[in-house]
Symmetry: C2
Subunit: 324 residues, 2 copies
DNA sequence: TTTCATATGTCAACCGGGTGACATAAAAAA
DNA sequence: TTTTTTATGTCACCCGGTTGACATATGAAA
């Protein structure tokens, strides 16, 4: 059987209450007792049961992360940094890959509540506001969930502008955009808005090819290249799409960047490593991660009032490779 | 205040015990009571407290994952699939990014034990056997932890052979290998063993450039290309290194695959997407993930005896791109 | 000598839910 | 009609740790 406080107390020759006092450093304690208890704990290999403690204290030090998938390095890196930031602050992480399935996302929210998490950071974009209406600290990433839920993101509009303007500077005459569907109230839409604004400012026609959530990107890209023979600039909404555009273009003998310039988005360190030539808009992933955790923890600990400020936007950076 | 069983009971006009019976579907229950209770739960927005339940049942349905980082798509994808498999089986996941820091890994193990996880899946490679000597179901991925801990992996030796033999078939005369350091008892070393065996079989000199854990891959690759002007084949121990080799080679005007053929390793779907030209050895990530979770859950539920079989090896697949 | 801060023990209640024992009553089967 | 089965309630204890109230015993300061 696992040792419990009682066992430690017996071995150390003190009362269970005293052991608890040592553990929580409360009340008067002599060095002698502290040592005896520490020794007994080591000898028994005692490990406190956080369930029991949490049940009483009404705090679990658990945070739930709800994100589409760790398989995508953007989320993978974000989660990595957030987990680190949480760990540093004494919080543990319950991981939820919602896989872009609304039902799963909903089940996850309930699961997290059953597990009594102290807060949730959500970057999943399927659920309506309703599902997040529990009196629990929540921080959203790149997504407006409700009036009182703070949002952390990078400057998507600025990113869209940077990408579009770069292509214009580079003398592209026919610039297209590839993006996911617009349905969700995601700040990522601002990239598209920026693209459209820039096109308008330069009196150029804006045209966006959309890739449905479950759609085949390859097919859309092929179709784009078929239908738009005069395209010479593409702003892709993420690096994966950008890379695929480049691969498909090369397959067709279209030279990048001579005949076609491509800008991606995200600039994760993994993609930077593996595809350093790609011009992209880099999101400050670790800043976003750090801020999201900081906000959530402050909310949990009652320091931060979610009503005070609800949007935190970090600047992005243009990284020029040789694809433009 | 959050509603508890008592409140549900009061509203439904039944006893707390009956509510518990409904929740756990035990004993005799009329449809009528079931409905009344369900209605009361919905009305109060009742969510059971899993802490309390777990405290009594001695089961948390929590699994701990200890892996270096979700930022690497290999782990990101592995974790994604494992999390899905766990969710399907009714288990939740506590995520630990050990960041290749032994101290952190040790802290994580203790943290998981405090949280009363039902089991651990570890793919982190820093700790000695000792740290995992707690009477808790554990499954290791790609790493021998102890006699009784089952290991799930793909066939690293076969992968190393496939890669090396491909380069030989393609008439490479000077084939080098790039790998991490050998120190850890990782099955990944078998890739190197296979490379060395194949070289020996063909009476060719084997030479491995090692990249230290905290080392600069760029620098090693540069040095390799400087020191080995006659190299015409490189087997890299992962796709990231392979991609960097190709980038560096192109920068130097070395044509791939004409003058230099490169084989990577891992074949994650993200890298396949972004860099489809890369020849690589693909690990069956979802098979590994599925098996690891299956084993762990069987161990937890007492179905699987870890003494019975302790190694599960899945075949790898050679994916030929245009880098060879 | 008195007073007070220090140090520890005892005890019971509590966190929220699970469960076994037992009582009771109505409906169904023998 | 008697026996079973079904259906629910009551009650107390359990899980492991936390905490407040209170008692008691030192040693030091007043």
């Amino acid at each position: 059987m696992k040792p419990k406080i009682k066992d430690v107390a017996k071995l150390a020759g003190v009362s269970p209450t005293t052991v608890s006092r040592v553990l929580n450093n409360r009340g008067y304690l002599s060095v002698d007792v502290r040592e005896k208890v520490a020794k007994a704990m080591k000898e028994l290999n005692y490990i406190p049961n956080d369930l029991a403690r949490s049940l009483y204290t009404q705090r679990t030090n658990l945070i739930g992360f709800i994100f589409p998938t760790t398989a995508n390095p953007f989320y993978g890196e974000l989660i990595f940094h957030m987990e680190n930031a949480s760990f540093e602050r004494g919080y543990r992480v319950l991981l939820c890959n919602s896989s872009s399935q609304p039902e799963k996302e909903e089940q996850y929210v309930e699961m997290l509540l059953r597990n009594q998490v102290d807060g949730i950071i959500s970057g999943a974009h399927n659920l309506g506001i309703k599902a997040y209406q529990h009196s629990l600290p929540i921080v959203a990433i790149d997504r407006y969930l409700s009036e009182t839920i703070p949002v952390v993101s990078s400057d998507n509009y600025q990113g869209g502008r940077l990408a579009s303007e770069l292509l214009i500077e580079k003398k592209c005459k026919r610039i297209l955009h590839i993006n996911g569907t617009r349905e969700m109230a995601s700040p990522a839409n601002k990239r598209r808005d920026a693209y459209e604004d820039v096109m308008k400012e330069h009196k150029m026609e804006a045209l966006t090819y959309e890739i449905p959530v479950m759609g085949n990107a390859e097919e859309i890209i092929s179709r784009l290249l078929d239908e738009q023979p005069d395209v010479d600039g593409i702003f892709a909404s993420d690096d994966k799409i950008a890379a695929r555009v480049i691969a498909e273009a090369r397959k067709r003998g279209i030279k990048v960047p001579e005949n076609l310039k491509v800008v991606g988005y995200d600039g994760t360190s993994f993609v930077r490593d593996i595809f350093p030539d790609l011009t992209t808009i880099q999101q400050p992933i670790s800043d976003i991660a750090e801020k999201a955790v900081e906000l959530l923890v402050e909310e949990i600990e009652g320091i931060f009032d979610p009503g005070s400020q609800k949007e935190f936007v970090f600047p992005v950076q243009l990284l020029e490779g040789t694809s433009t």
